[in-house]
């Protein structure tokens, strides 16, 4: 457990221009409630400022934080900096979408010390963007990237999605090649998933769209991993690539290593590790969120203590999704894992060295079953 490390702060902006077909994050496609939300988030900060005085990472996620106007962004950041301290060299990221990012907003962010942008590009084929229900074009995405650079962001991450039926390996390669020319410091490549309840899922149920199948998904994954590694990116987590180890996403790595984090805003999750690991999550409704905070109450919808078993299962899964892998010491209470490990090593799914289990590229693909089998 990582109680030594400094926690991260996450803030959820639950507003978007429109709802993407595949998305199952909590967000609404109206901006009417932004003022109320802003006031509520500022109130929520006060509830936690004693418990979480200092962070070394900030992540403004969503939703789409870039839909906020400059003055709202400024107000939000001002409150954050007033309530919490962020050491000497924090990582401060904001998620942004091409259709709502502007040079003026970028400047405001720079003024408040933000140093990283995670840009939702998804694809540079307009047919893919249409399939995904994105609110921007490929051209807008490229211009947004340039705007980040112009505003002085020297750490930009690009989000991409692959494994669409509208995509071929060739068109996917074209998207990647164009992105690579921009040399982003970080690339997240997410496999398209059909999450229950989303518009895309409904289309799939209705037989109007389909998944490309396990074989093709695996092929896309393996090809992408190899291609980006050859272009100098390290594949440090199943979906994440960095142009150097200094560009690993500090904030996300906290999630994967049970470092505590505080999540503010509707639907945000938080983790505390002392005296016992505990996770809690906020209500998934802006209105409810504002109402509770208006009454001076924490907008918490639920919480759980993690049992040893649960903690271990998470650890196995999260660790085996990263290139650092799992410390074998974590397996001492799981004697049956030894045979399984030997089998996987033989089958080329993991490498065992320096007391760690590290997934291979093919191992990344089956990380979930690795975790479940280790956990007995």
């Amino acid at each position: 457990m990582n109680s030594q490390e400094i926690p991260g702060l996450y803030i959820h902006t639950p507003f978007c221009r429109s709802k993407c077909f595949y998305c199952d994050f909590y967000s609404v496609a109206s901006r009417a409630e932004i003022p109320a939300w802003l006031e509520a988030v500022r109130a929520e900060m006060k509830l936690y400022k004693e418990e979480f005085p200092a962070f070394d990472s900030l992540y403004l996620g969503g939703g789409t934080p870039s839909v906020l106007e400059e003055r709202d962004l400024a107000a939000l950041l001002e409150s954050i900096l007033q309530n919490f301290a962020f050491g000497a060299d924090p990582e401060m990221t904001m998620e942004a979408n091409p259709e709502s990012l502007s040079p003026e907003k970028l400047k405001t962010l720079r003024d408040f010390g933000l140093n990283r942008i995670s840009l939702g590009v998804q694809s540079l084929e307009d047919s893919d963007l249409k399939y995904l229900g994105r609110a921007h074009s490929a051209g807008q995405a490229l211009r947004a990237f340039e705007a980040c650079r112009s505003a002085g962001f020297s750490n930009v991450s690009v989000d991409l999605i692959y494994g669409l039926e509208t995509q071929s390996l060739k068109s996917w390669k074209k998207t990647l090649d164009t992105i690579l020319e921009l040399r982003p410091e970080h690339i997240s490549c997410y496999q398209l998933t059909f999450e229950k309840g989303t518009a895309l899922w409904k289309k799939k149920e209705a037989g109007r769209v389909r998944s490309i199948g396990e074989k093709m998904e695996a092929a896309f994954f393996l090809w992408t991993s190899r291609y980006l590694q050859r272009r100098g990116y390290c594949h440090y987590e199943v979906s994440n690539f960095a142009a150097g180890r200094e560009f690993l996403c500090r904030h996300n790595r906290k999630y994967w290593r049970h470092v505590p984090y505080l999540g503010l805003g509707p639907s945000a999750h938080s983790l505390a590790v002392v005296p016992q690991p505990r996770r809690w999550w906020n209500v998934k409704s802006v209105r409810e969120y504002c109402r509770l905070l208006g009454e001076g109450k924490a907008p918490v919808a639920g919480w759980e203590f993690l049992s040893r078993e649960q903690f271990d299962l998470e650890t196995f899964d999260l660790a085996l999704r990263t290139d650092e892998g799992l410390d074998m010491a974590a397996l001492k209470d799981y004697p049956q894992s030894q045979r399984v490990l030997a089998q996987w090593q033989k089958s080329g799914l993991v490498r065992l060295s320096e007391g760690r289990v590290r997934p291979t590229r093919r191992g990344f693909l089956v990380a979930d079953s690795l975790a479940v089998m280790l956990a007995g």
Binding site: Y10, F25, G61, S188, Y190, Q191, T193, E214, K215, E217, A218, F221, V238, S239, N252, Y255, W256, Y261, G263, A268, H269, S270, L271, R279, W281, E304, Q310, L313, E314, D317, L318, R321, Q336, R339, V340, A342, Q343, W344, K346, S347, L349, R362, F364, L365, V366, A367, D368, S369, L370, A371, V372, M373, A375, G376
Partner: protein, 598 residues
């Protein structure tokens, strides 16, 4: 003597025995007392809900006949399956007559004939009853013809009824009082009572059901079981009505129960004769024998932590089922468990289901085996019902396996497919008779091993449900046996080994490999499955690995949701057994022997 009639209902499975029994209870209950009826039905509903096979229930039906006489009709229920044929024969020995039930749309079937022969052996009055006359497909004329020709009974006397619709119930009851003779017996002679059933009551211990032939006895008497010599002091005797109905005395002609501080049903031998310690009868009732298990299988807990719970569950289960035998067993693949002997496959199924449902055990059962005999070169004789103890082949001088006489009744048009099936299963010496036009009764000599697995299912499939089957074990025959080993991912899994006939080894090997390929889920690595005799591989199959299972997305701090998905998978895994690094589902061990429907 009071007006008593002791009778049973016998029928091929599904011809309506349980339904008719319910109807008789309901009908006679109405005559006597409205409340009585409601309670009986409630009582039985609860049992049904709990999924208990209402096995060998006995009940007194009070009946006022058309002539105005009051009767007590003892309905002695019999288990409706060949596995329990000995219990059936003991129940029949306690009766003076039977209702031989025939489904009007199905006609005479294999168990109808087997049951008829059993009733004839006991010289009982036989009342043919044609049931399900309400069905559009009912063919009463053809049923009559079969009663004449297949059974050699007088079909004019057949009673027509619909148990489901309640038609002809009074006619059935009238037939019982007029055509089943009253019990004979001498109340003054020494006590001679036949035990035909036993069940366990958590408060009173084992309770024996018995038929009194001569004499009488009651609470305080010391009774003696003639086969074991054990003596007990009688605490209570009585009749089965709604509840147990205690009596001062049970006397010649009646059917009732005895409670005598007997701990488990295993202390009561079905077919044994009870007599009075002070004034014993000289000879017991005929026909007593020790039932021996014929099918064997091992039971293991899925998780070895659950072994103590399984020990406990088996002990408790055994209190109520004398026919189950078990002893400790262990397997390299599955750990500590028990080798169990059953009366047949149905018995095995019942035990498995009850252990799972009533005792909440997660168990693995291995493929059933019969009992083989070996004579070794040094002259020793060996009985082996567990493939793990198959002797070293170089030491074997001779091996033998049990044979049965299989009787199959079927419409003539299926003769070809049934003949093929039986010959595939090493059936020999076919004998065929055509009792009625279009119907065939065929008899084969067959190894028991070939029918214990899925023969009946296959027969039903190839005859589209029209074929019926009955068997009896006849003898041991010399047979060329080998042990088939199964290797999963290069490791021999002892619990999957089989003893098979040499000529069938390849077929079995191929089948087991194919079945396991279907049963074992894909893993994240490739799994080879091989069948081997000695060191020689005779069959193989491969389970290709899955390439991908990650839900690629895991961003944000909502790790709990992901974990819950993993926990679900972990729970699914609990239904599987880790053998080496392969997860084998619980069901795989038994199902390896089930052939697939083409």
């Amino acid at each position: 003597m009071r007006q008593i009639r002791n009778f049973s209902i016998i029928a091929h499975i599904d011809h309506g025995k349980s339904t008719l029994a319910d109807r008789l209870i309901q009908y006679t209950g109405v005559v006597k007392d409205r409340q009585f009826r409601d309670q009986i039905l409630d009582n039985m509903d609860i049992e049904r809900e709990r999924g208990i096979t209402i096995k060998s229930q006995t009940v007194v039906l009070p009946y006022k006949s058309r002539s105005g006489e009051i009767f007590e009709l003892n309905l002695i229920d019999t288990p409706g399956h060949a596995d329990f044929s000995y219990e059936v024969s003991r129940a029949l020995a306690s009766c003076e007559g039977v209702l031989l039930l025939i489904d009007a749309s199905q006609g005479v079937q294999a168990q109808t004939i087997a049951n008829l022969y059993a009733a004839m052996e006991h010289d009982l009055a036989i009342i043919p009853v044609i049931n399900k006359i309400d069905l559009p497909s009912a063919d009463i004329d053809s049923a009559r013809e079969q009663i004449e020709n297949d059974l050699g009974l007088d079909s004019d006397n057949a009673v027509l009824c619909s148990a489901k619709e309640g038609i002809g119930i009074e006619e059935v009851l009238e037939a019982i009082v007029t055509r089943v003779p009253p019990p004979t017996g001498d109340i003054e002679k020494p006590l001679s009572a036949l035990i035909f059933d036993a069940h366990y009551d958590p408060f009173r211990g084992a309770i024996a059901s018995c038929r009194i032939f001569d004499g009488k006895f009651g609470p305080g008497d010391i009774i003696r079981f003639m086969s074991s010599g054990a003596a007990y002091k009688v605490e209570e005797v009585g009749f089965f009505r709604l509840f147990r109905d205690p009596q001062k005395v049970l006397s010649a002609g009646s059917v009732g129960y005895v409670i005598a501080g007997i701990k488990t049903v295993s202390d009561i031998r079905i077919g044994d004769t009870m007599t009075l310690d002070s004034n014993p009868v000289s000879t017991p009732q005929p026909g007593f024998k020790d039932v021996k298990p014929v099918v064997f299988s091992s039971i293991y807990p899925i998780s070895s932590d659950d072994y103590p719970a399984l020990v406990d569950a088996l002990e408790k289960y055994k209190l109520n089922d004398a026919a189950l035998v078990y002893q400790k067993d262990s397997s390299i693949a599955l750990g500590q468990g028990f080798r169990c002997g059953f009366l047949g496959l149905l018995h095995l199924d019942i035990v498995q289901e009850r252990l799972e449902r009533e005792f909440d055990q997660s168990i693995i059962m291995t493929a059933p085996s019969v009992q083989y005999q070996f004579t070794l070169n040094d002259g020793t004789d060996l009985t082996v019902e567990n493939p793990q103890y198959y002797p070293d082949p170089v030491d074997i001088q001779q091996s033998r396996e049990p044979y049965i006489k299989a009787v199959i009744i079927l419409p003539e048009r299926y003769m070809g497919v049934v003949m093929k099936l039986c010959l595939e299963r090493r059936g020999s010496n076919p004998r065929v008779v055509y009792p009625t036009p279009g119907r065939v009764e065929t008899t084969f000599d067959m190894p028991l091993a070939e029918v214990v697995f899925d023969f009946y299912d296959r027969l039903k499939t190839v005859t589209q449900g029209y074929g019926s089957f009955d068997y009896e074990i006849t003898e041991y025959r010399v047979s060329d046996l080998v042990k088939l080993d199964i290797l999963v991912n290069g490791e021999r899994v002892d619990a999957l080994s089989l003893i098979v006939h040499r000529e069938r080894a390849r077929d079995w090997g191929v089948q087991v490999c194919d079945r396991l390929k279907e049963e074992i889920p894909r893993h994240n690595f490739k799994i080879a499955i091989q069948g081997a005799i000695g060191g020689k591989i005779i069959s193989r199959s491969t389970i290709s690995p899955f390439r991908k299972d990650v839900i690629a997305k895991c961003y944000g701090g909502d790790i709990s949701r992901k974990r819950k998905l993993l926990e679900k998978q972990k729970k699914g895994k609990k239904r599987m057994k880790m053998v080496g690094s392969v997860m084998i589902p619980q069901s795989a061990f038994v199902s390896v022997l089930k052939t697939k429907d083409e």
